[in-house]
Amino acid sequence: MDDFDPSDDDAHNGTETSFNDVEASDTEAGTTRKIIHIDMDAFFASVEQRDHPELRGKPVAVGGSSGRGVVAAASYEARRFGVRSAMPSVTAKRLCPDLVFCKSRFDVYREVSQQIREIFRHHTDLVEPLSLDEAYLDVTEDRHGLGSATRIAQAIRRSIREETRLTASAGVSYNKFLAKLASDQNKPDGICVIKPGEGAAFVQSLPIRRFHGIGPKGEEKMTRLGIETGADLAARDMAFLRANFGSFAEYLYRAARGIDDRPVRSNRIRKSVGGERTFSEDISAAPRLRETLDNIVDIVWARIEHNKARGRTVTLKLKYNDFRISSHAKTLNRAVAGKEEFAQIGHELLGEMLPLPLPIRLMGLTLSKLEGVPKKKPRSEAAQLTLF
């Protein structure tokens, strides 16, 4: 029987889109969370090396090479010479005379970024992107039953490698702060897991510079105060930290103990609700297709109801066994009234696509042009004045 959660290799091809969910977090449940931080390795530079084979193995910097240019990203080969992002290109060239400059191609980076976010969302809706190449994922709910956050992280890294031919590093832990430290631990193309109970020890073994938010200046100050490692920091009490670091104290106090209660925030506004199904065997017979569509309608409509979504456009997507994708859509001048109409439109769309030129391996149905996307929310929130 086909499975809505394909657990074979298909699961890693991003063939099943994730269902966008309203923001939710399990922190209040009090259970241990499972957080992954994914960081692409030398992202922009790696994309350039991927697309320009002649650059592979060479020190590459993305950014303008002219007098006032700045390095936006440096390949690992370039980093060996001390080239860093945000460094003036002139300085970079001095450090590494053989440095090859590439013009940045943000549209390509954005495209790749979309690809990796699709991979993330295959595993969880709780994705908090920090930038094009970095994101936090809350995988406490093991959607595909992979068994552990570490396995999910490995599945994600594998999918990224297969789909983008780029490498990513992953940090796996029970909060964001630790996950981010962990992803940095075995870079590039590495993974590091900090298990519950190991957080404090891990943090305390680190030089203070590795703490997020402590730059060269902060490091100087810390050294002056005799704090060189996380352990040194953990040994100071709250009063000492307050006296020396003001409002930063609470963060430092918690960080030194590996504590971080911040939830993973997915601020993505839902634009569609839908689902797809990849079959274990390709199908083409009309009755079988109709039956499959009905199954998908059941599942997707449950999602629609769960999300209290109302939308005007229904899209049916088919992926043929040669991986070509074809989709038909219908838009009403009002929201789809109910499950029956949703199903009826789905069947109409399927009817338009029959007979199929090839058997299909995937079918998907989506409701979009949603009503009530909270576009005005930020404004009305801003109008509410605050006590604190």
Binding site: E28, T31, T140, D142, R262, P374, A383, L385, L387, F388
Partner: protein, 415 residues
């Protein structure tokens, strides 16, 4: 991480029955480690008794758990003929004792809370339920029904180590219920400000020793003040988490007549309801600093508006019909002895209503979130409510009168 913690539990407290129970715990944990390889237990209990008990504890258990044993309740049958049922989510645990019809084999085991609850719910009224655990399963029999559920060992069941709970006092259940009712609606749900996700309890010596309960989400504040109960002097400031508040409130509802014994330290709080054989709720406290809320309580607001809370509530509710979003503001225009409420919605049109009121200060226009206003007004059980205003951008003080134990502060919306 989830090593059995039963051994850490210290039963402390001079006259606390709950403490004694935890001592019993300790003893049985020792017994378990001293050679009971397989966990056996056999007891029979009235369906109504176990159902009532499970209905108390099962809501503590999260529906989805990453740690399997957290889906379970601990059931412990003792020689004295009582059955102890315990549920936890690691931050909050509820323990209840009930009398069994008979205990054939004393012992303890854990089994799925929701399954057992659902089974108990569906068993015929008046039936005797036999629970028998052996070889990793628990057989549940009643009448002609029989179930067999997988069990997990009792030693793996995490018990909150209460530690020393040096502060002890009692409150009438009704008072505790009122504290909760008057404040809980203002508890923040925003997890980034976790220290606002509960009710803050602290004692002060203003004019006289008092205990104060406060909750805020940064937009509104609710505070309830009562005479400091005997034994509460010198207690640490604590923040009781939202879930504990909700569970506690449900438990209180069933024993409104008695007193609730409260024992606490800076990190844990324990509520004992119904005395011996009652329910004990123990919760971790939120580890954070509640903001100094007293500085946002206005003291110099000189514009006093007095009106009937019920008609005010209804009028706000009516005009808010037009508002399309939950957060849309209701505008209040204040003239001499008159309030004009209005809502303007770009999509839906406009609404307005005039209300008689007592108002003698200069004219003022101010906006409030309709739902926040309604939340506060629905707390008022009197014929008059006072709104002390300053201007359209400043916190407004709302209360029944200056004797009332409850006080609310509401921040306006810009309109």
């Amino acid at each position: 991480m989830l090593a059995p913690q039963a051994a850490n539990v210290k039963g402390i407290g001079r006259n606390s029955c709950a403490a004694k129970r935890f001592c019993t715990d300790n003893a049985s944990a020792r017994a378990a480690s001293e050679g009971l390889e397989d966990e056996t237990m056999k007891a029979t209990i009235e369906r109504a008794t176990i159902l009532r008990c499970l209905s108390h504890v099962q809501s503590v258990v999260e529906r989805r758990n990453t740690i399997p044993i957290l889906s379970n309740v601990l059931i412990e049958a003792s020689e004295s003929g009582t059955l102890k049922v315990m549920a936890t989510d690691l931050d909050l645990q509820v323990v209840e004792n009930m009398s069994a019809a008979s205990v054939e084999v004393p012992g303890a085991v854990t089994v799925s809370a929701h399954l057992l609850f659902d089974i108990a719910r569906k068993l015929p009224d008046g039936s005797q339920v036999s629970l028998e655990a052996a070889e990793g399963r628990m057989a549940i029999k009643a009448g002609r029904s029989r179930f067999s559920l997988p069990t997990l060992p009792r030693d793996d069941f995490p018990v909150i180590a209460e530690g020393d709970l040096p502060t002890s006092f009692e409150l009438p259940a009704k008072t505790l219920a009122e504290i909760i009712d008057r404040t809980r609606f203002a508890i923040s749900t925003e997890e980034t400000r976790y220290y606002l996700n509960g009710i803050f309890l602290h004692v002060t010596d203003d004019d006289q020793p008092v205990l104060k309960a406060a909750a805020t989400d940064g937009h509104r504040l609710a505070r309830f003040t009562l005479d400091r109960p005997e034994g509460a002097a010198g207690m640490p400031d604590v923040i009781v988490p939202r879930k504990a508040v909700a569970e506690l409130r449900k438990l209180i509802e069933e024993s409104l007549d008695g007193n609730v014994q409260i024992d606490l330290s800076a990190s844990k709080i324990r509520f004992t309801l119904g005395g011996e054989g009652g329910v004990v709720l123990t919760s971790k406290l939120i580890d954070g600093t509640f903001p100094d809320y007293s500085r946002v309580i206005p003291t110099g607001n000189d514009k006093l508006l007095k009106l009937d809370p019920r008609s005010f509530y209804e009028a706000v509710d009516r005009v808010a019909t037009i508002a399309t979003e939950k957060t849309r503001a209701v505008k209040m225009g204040l003239d001499r002895d008159r309030v004009t409420l209005s809502v303007t919605s770009p999509d839906n049109g406009t609404a307005a209503e005039e209300l008689a009121a007592e108002y003698g200060a200069e004219n003022l226009e101010i906006g409030f979130n309709a739902n926040y206003l309604k939340d506060i007004l629905s707390q008022m059980d009197s014929d008059a409510v006072e709104l002390h205003l300053a201007d359209a951008g400043a916190p407004t003080l709302i209360r029944k009168n200056d004797k009332a134990p409850a006080l609310y502060v509401l921040m306006p919306m810009r309109v």
